[in-house]
């Protein structure tokens, strides 16, 4: 299991993040570890750097971690979380520029086949809105 790239799903809404992670587990399977987080520390809509950091570490894989985000702050806070990682992990975490739900399914399908982090991200990003 740990020889596959893992995923982290970051949404402003904890429900969206959980739902997207559920879709990955049901549609793709459990060969790929998926963590999800969402919501600001005060419980309102938003994202939280510490929660993202915890999520990355929860599913850490030596093959790397691909992060799927929804809007604005999810992206900047994820970038901040990556910067807070130990240096040896930092280079093995990437943000995918793709729709959060669709990108997660595509990324997980790619990762389930043992693909590299670069290939997982490329597959998620291949699905950019037309």
């Amino acid at each position: 299991m740990s020889d596959n790239v893992s995923l982290v799903i970051v949404s402003h809404s904890p429900d969206v993040a959980r739902g997207a992670a559920d879709m990955v587990r049901q549609m793709v399977g459990d060969e790929v570890k998926v963590a999800h987080c969402g919501g600001a520390p005060d419980g309102r809509l938003g994202t939280d750097v510490q929660k993202i950091l915890d999520a990355i570490n929860e599913v850490w894989s030596p093959r790397g971690v691909a992060i799927l985000v929804d809007l604005g702050g999810a992206e900047t806070n994820s970038e901040m979380a990556i910067e807070l990682l130990p240096q040896d992990r930092r280079a093995r975490v990437v943000l995918c520029n793709s729709p959060i739900v669709e990108g997660a399914i595509m990324a997980a399908t790619e990762a389930a086949g043992g693909s590299s982090l670069a290939d997982v991200r490329a597959t998620a990003e291949e699905l950019s809105p037309r």
């Binding site: 793709v28 389930a112 086949g113 291949e126």
Partner: protein, 104 residues
């Protein structure tokens, strides 16, 4: 030129097959994921087309397989190239014939 260069290369194995897609909703999200995941288990290059003249798409690309949007009753064409080509085509046809069963 070298004395060793005339050793026979391993013959490249090729396989093709067609199968009718009976799945009610066609090749939608979940069947596409299953097909791609199965294709990725083989080393062979595997292509898929929804008509004999192509276009042929990479069966290991989830984005392309899903984008094919093959509806029910499409005749799916598979072709594979590589040492395990026959096994790959056989497994993919079985998956479609068995209507994309859940693993295990």
């Amino acid at each position: 030129m070298s004395a060793y260069s005339d050793s026979a290369p391993v013959p490249l194995s090729r396989a093709t097959a067609n199968v009718v897609l009976r799945h009610e909703a066609g090749l939608h999200a979940r069947p596409a994921v299953k097909l791609t995941k199965l294709a990725k288990k083989f080393a062979a290059k595997i292509a898929l087309a929804t008509s004999e003249g192509g276009p042929w798409i990479d069966a290991k690309s989830i984005v392309k397989v899903m984008a094919a949007k093959a509806p029910r009753d499409t005749l799916l064409h598979f072709r594979a190239e590589g040492a395990d080509a026959s096994a790959a085509v056989e497994a993919l046809v079985a998956l479609v014939e068995q209507d994309f069963p859940d693993d295990g």
